[in-house]
Subunit: 209 residues, 2 copies
Amino acid sequence: MAGFKIPGITVYRLALYARTLEKLLEEGKDIISSEELARECGVNSAQLRKDLSYFGQFGVRGVGYSIPALLRHIRRILGAGREWFMVLMGAGHLGQALLKYEFLPKRGFKFVAAFDIDEEKIGRVVNDVYVYHLNQLSWVLREHPAEIGVIATPAKAAQEVADLLIENNIKGILNFAPVRIKHPPNVIVEHSDLTILFDKLAFYLNRLD
Amino acid sequence: MAGFKIPGITVYRLALYARTLEKLLEEGKDIISSEELARECGVNSAQLRKDLSYFGQFGVRGVGYSIPALLRHIRRILGAGREWFMVLMGAGHLGQALLKYEFLPKRGFKFVAAFDIDEEKIGRVVNDVYVYHLNQLSWVLREHPAEIGVIATPAKAAQEVADLLIENNIKGILNFAPVRIKHPPNVIVEHSDLTILFDKLAFYLNRLD
């Protein structure tokens, strides 16, 4: 499996399948057909079978998938189950919402520190996470190692903050600022674009009329 | 085209193509091959050609796509270019970040009012949007009609708030609360799950090691 390239959109769908399987498990379901799982996820079932076939064969023809087994397998593929330590860059509204988002630590994503340059915010503690001045980043990362940097700064600060993270050996960046980050190829950057969600909703609303 | 069902994930990819084309256009590009566009978007090129073929033929074999023409076409499919009026439910950190998110009005998504039940927040004006008490929802919607409700409340309040929106004839809901909303079939609900982004990043980080 190592070395073969899985498209980003496939990984996105795997995470979506995992979320949906978790929900079905909570609802007390145990077995599901690929058609039903595809419908729950809003993908077509040929697509779903193709995605899962990347990683070997699952499911029993005519019976369906075991939800716990499939979920375990997808989680293993996604590398879920381990803990990731993160620093937050920018403790504004979005940043504080992320610090308070209870579903992140539940899934193993833990903030060890937050950074800002606004004296008003420095020294605050949000959901047990301390807000440091940006110039303490190197020092804090030596004390509290982290693998992921989450950027929730204004657009104009995002590249500078990303460069600092990369200098300090952060290998994964999730960027919520609405700007593309330039980065070396050995650093992974995911961009979040909330407007895509609004576009998707608008598309379906247009078709209602 | 009417009446034929396009999977949610296809619509998501169309919005992603639109964002990427906008970026390429800003960078001064005019023509792109399907392979190059697919690479920029992180999808495979067979997938991209298949998605676009839903809506007719584009591009010239051996030459590629005209970026402005393709973008215009995708925007038309997505129903972009019109304005959507929205109410925000919950003016906490995430809600205020959304009110301040400059990329939404740029793309035609405009908040007309915000609602909360916290007396501290009621009466505030965030980025020209007034925060009302939740019990003024019907009255405000009569004065300022809106099509979309954005839920940024705690999980436990989300269903009640969604029910209120639906009673008041809102047809589209974007739910940021980490809980599934029950709704009649003539209302469109999109759920945003930020944890999927973190999962995707973790997947690629695991493969770096």
